[in-house]
Symmetry: C2
Subunit: 341 residues, 2 copies
């Protein structure tokens, strides 16, 4: 029986399914583990702050092993051994075991071919999915996002047939924008939008005149987006200073300045994205794309994208666990429900 | 006797001149005071780290007064009272007394009209030069740089007759680029290049893979400039990530990454400047311009400017003290040597 519906009314039935896979999204600052059945339905989840840069004890002293045991050990305690798959920074040079990058264009088969295996002290094999590299004069790398992208494509094949390739955005600390086509990640871009925002707000003069807002000020945010989108300025290093000077001249309140700066940076990101899309005769205007990420941030991006003429930017939910399930299937770690019947 | 030569052989003669003016460049993090004769020759200098955000005691408890006394008191102890002029953040809302901004286009007469006076507890009047504001949707402000710009123009009238206006760059934490014409600051731009560089290096992932270099790596710097100058990228938020990914792919050594990032940011600044110049049918290529700032930083900018086709970018020395002297003359605080004779 195939089931991907995760709505509430199917929960009792789903809970009765047998556990078939442990799937882990293991990043720099956090980890999330999923217990899935063969169809990919989520039976249980665990969250931990033990990201790879945040292990309770050093890697050399079994830090990864201990976190895995603490997070997933109970799922393995009573019953047959389950296959385990993990994606994210856990496969980086600073991770549990390095899974060398797979080059673009990359499809799930290439990821499967690049899986590395590490054995826990209890003898459990953890399959680590590699990240993706787009080499060149401005190389790009991702770890974890490739899995989310294939998770999104698993439930949304229409995106694959967009003219000039489908576009998937993953907002965040290091926002990614990937062009997908025929089930492959063709190329992608990284924008250090979230991290630059934090550094400017917390470690430059711009933060000094800001007051923390009670609520999100969408007008200030959109004003920032529109300013960055406009052609008449001297670039990001110049526009960000207006966060301060608009305050000095009484045109932007202290409690609006954080949202304005956020809008500026996201606006510069989308402007830059549009510039590289233009080289492929593509444009955000009128494009159907998908977003993967937390709802509040995706909602901000939707507002910003609308200023660039893009009004079809749906958020894809459950991309992480669907991606891990899909790669595990392709790797033969589990069988699809259809095959089992 | 008119004398502006500051070369070494004239020093004994100059030291014999009578003190005529105390001139202070009082910024956010530091202060530099000059004892000048009527011709503007420097008789003595004092430096202090007591910038306006760094006063040993709060402003309300006479913090400014105490710093002034500690820095310049000795010059006033034996003899007739000297006029005192100060420029920089000392005239900001957080300064000793606010000198409201003068709007562009601004000439020295407008600055003189905007001077505010504050009396020390010993009865000395300090004349504070206002900053300059260019209002609009992206307002720009400067405090201190206007004085340096008029100091540069005092000794370099050729710049005033450049087609489309002369261009003066002041690299630093908040780099300024001003277009000057007919003895006026017509308009200007601010780039948060220096401060953004520090925030990215010290407070983002980019700093983690950097190793402090033994010496400046000009090849890495120029590589950054050229990358930013190139049209084929997705903007600053994308290019900065290459500092890391070029390292990950073995194409940029840890000790090259700081210079590369510096080149990237200065390259983005000059690219942005070129974009606004283009609207006035101007271009950095082939332009003669002037730089004001410390020698090492100006040298980096000269290398970067050359990549944009600009090979005539001389550094103007002594712009600060010359500017303060010129404004004091125009304000009638001192008489020119010619007038005195």
């Amino acid at each position: 029986m195939m089931r991907t519906d995760t709505s509430a009314e199917t929960q009792p039935a789903r809970a009765a399914e047998a556990p078939a896979l442990i799937a882990i999204d293991w990043g720099t600052t956090a980890l999330r583990a999923y217990l899935l059945d063969a169809s990919g339905a989520v039976l249980d989840t665990r969250a931990s702050s033990a990201g790879i840069m945040n292990l309770p004890k050093p890697a050399a002293e079994g830090g990864f092993d201990a976190v895995f045991e603490a997070t997933c050990g109970a799922w393995l305690a009573n019953g047959e051994p389950l296959p385990v798959i993990a994606a994210g920074m856990v496969g980086s040079a600073q991770g549990w075991m390095e899974a060398p990058y797979v080059s673009t264009p990359a499809d799930p088969a290439a990821l499967v071919a690049g899986i590395v295996r590490v054995k826990t002290h209890k003898g459990v094999t953890v399959h680590i999915v590699p990240g993706v590299l787009e080499d060149g004069t401005l190389p790009n790398v991702m770890r974890g996002e490739e899995t989310q992208i294939f998770g999104a494509l698993a439930s949304d094949t229409a995106l694959d047939h967009e003219p000039y390739g489908g576009l998937i955005g993953l907002p965040g600390t290091h926002a990614k924008w990937a062009v997908v086509s025929k089930g492959r990640i063709e190329r992608f871009y990284t924008f250090m939008t979230g991290e630059t925002y934090g550094a400017l707000r917390d470690h430059t003069i711009l933060g000094r005149t800001m007051r923390a807002p009670d609520h999100q000020d969408m007008d200030a945010f959109i004003r920032g987006v529109d300013t960055a989108k406009d052609d008449g300025h001297a670039g990001l290093l110049a526009t960000i200073f207006s966060t301060r000077t608009l305050g000095l001249t009484g045109k932007l309140k202290p409690e609006q300045q954080a949202d304005y700066l956020s809008g500026l940076l996201i606006g510069h990101e989308l402007r830059g994205l549009n510039e590289v899309l233009a080289r492929e005769q593509a444009d955000l205007a009128g494009k159907a794309l998908r977003l993967i990420g937390n709802d509040a941030l995706c909602e901000r991006y939707r507002h910003a994208l609308a200023r660039f003429g893009c009004h079809d930017a749906r958020t894809v939910a459950h991309a992480t666990e669907r991606g891990l399930h899909r790669i595990a299937l392709q790797a033969g770690l589990i069988q699809s429900s259809a095959e089992r019947i």
